[in-house]
Amino acid sequence: MKYEVPIGPIHPALKEPIMLRFTLEGERIVDVDVIASQNHRGIEWIGMNRNNPVQSIYLAERICGICNFCHPSCLVMAVEEIAGIESPERAEYIRVIQGELERIHSHLLWAGVAAHELGFDSLLHYVWVVREKVMDILELVNGNRVTKAIIMYGGVRRDIKEEHISKIKEMLEYYKQAFSKLAKLFLEDKTIKMRTREIGILPYEEAIKLATVGPTTRASGVKKDVRQDMPYFAYPDFEVKAITPDMLTGETIGDTYDRIVVRLLEVKQSIEIIEQALENMPKGDILAEPKIIKVINQIKKSEGEAVGRYEAPRGEDIHYVKLREGFEYLYAWKVRAPTYINILSWRPMLLDMQIADIPIVAASIDPCISCTNRVIVVKGTEEKILTAEELHKLSVQKTRRLRR
């Protein structure tokens, strides 16, 4: 007999608003349907109708709290290409360092979540303690842990100073030592192996056909990494190589375990890139044009279209931008975050698996659904959707009530 199990829109195992509807035969999953329309903040609409291009950088930062450097970078890259803005050499190096710092913190965050999904909470706490080190550096260099507001058309807004460099080097040493311990904990632990080996397999052909990106596709043996294939910023200087699990284990299966391997190796790779970047960082300016009003005017005078591509921690991020002369906002803006395309891979991964595997397999692509702006209230069989306005009103009412 077949029956259906819905997971989400909000579920303790998947903390972001997305709904998965499973059809089961006993414990075996025979069909998966993803219902994504739980939230849409209309970010592209705001960029096309309300914000000037500089404001849109900070808007893009808020697409995802974790990848708050990737999305603005992608937008900046596309706009710079259209408007012909060049960045100073030092800025290109700082952008690389910022991007890699973000990759380290994002992969460690994911490692903690993965441990938690397996019920290994002591490991979650250990990994997140280790992650604090890079968060401290982000705060030291940028003044903020998340939404760092660092990138700008034609450069970056804050320099990496001499006193930061010694602290960053200290952090790199710390991670080099922590790496072997983390690798041992994640890759040699018997329980983790049992829960992830041969679980949620994404075969090579499926990975290519479904156009998956990032660690999800690399764990299936596809050597695809924008930093290697079509490098941007100062990445051509580093000759980054796409990481596949066979580099460590000698074989590629494409299961959840392989996705752990790829992410761990990428943390190590990021450490090496930052080291190399600090050593070779050119001196000079960090911003081509410090007067923002001039930048806005230059962009307003430009016309054309371009595609910005960036290798975010979760995979390739793409922004398509079209500018029209004299138009105040971005004429067209399309954001494609990596999870957008990666959720298609849930189906082949989850078919024939068991219910208990859903959390770790779903988490293994490192999904990032972003936050909600709507609430659905269900009363009996009736559904009512609250708008942001109504929600705001309710919130104000509650504050007033509490104040009494």
Partner: protein
């Protein structure tokens, strides 16, 4: 196949194609290349099939983007080619222009399965009807979203009743 060879391939098949470039890198300079191809709306499947047949690897589908051009809606089908080799990858964007009185095109999902989410999104955001699209539910908008309102359009079908939260901020918060 590199970007120039791909451009040649499309030109020989009778399509208009051009390349845009951008330099990256500080010590090692590398060129980022994008190939743009103009495609008639009847030929969208044919253009995708040309790529599938002639490329060494399966085309990597990225996304479909859309822009409102007054009397037309322009769709850009973005693909990437040539991963796995240092500095070899490039973007191919197929540009299709659809008149607003006939917003219909053949779905490419039957040959590129990854395109399904994007076609569903374009359908609800711009109002383009995709023939042979197997799943026509809403992708991001809620199921009770009104018919005939398309958020990415710049004409009378664009949403009007929005922005109120923001307006109260501008007026100093009421």
């Amino acid at each position: 196949m590199n970007a120039e060879e791909a451009m040649q391939m499309f030109k020989e098949a009778g399509y208009e194609a051009w390349i845009s470039e951008r330099e990256a890198g500080v010590k090692n300079k590398a060129k980022k290349k994008s190939l743009w191809v103009k495609v008639d709306k009847e030929k969208i499947r044919e253009a995708v099939e040309i790529m599938i047949e002639n490329a060494e690897e399966y085309p990597h589908f990225s996304i479909i983007s859309a822009s409102d051009e007054g009397d037309n809606v322009e769709l850009n089908y973005h693909f990437t080619f040539g991963y796995g080799k240092l500095l070899e990858e490039f973007v191919i964007s197929l540009k299709v222009s659809l008149p607003k009185n006939a917003l219909r095109i053949k779905s490419i999902t039957p040959i590129i399965p990854a395109a399904i989410l994007s076609e569903r999104e374009i359908r609800e955001m711009v109002g383009v009807e995709f023939d042979e699209l197997p799943d026509k539910r809403h992708m991001f908008l809620t199921k009770d979203f009104p018919d005939g309102v398309y958020p990415w359009r710049r004409d009378e079908t664009a949403p009007k009743e929005t922005n109120k939260l923001y307006e109260t901020w501008k007026e100093g918060g009421k």
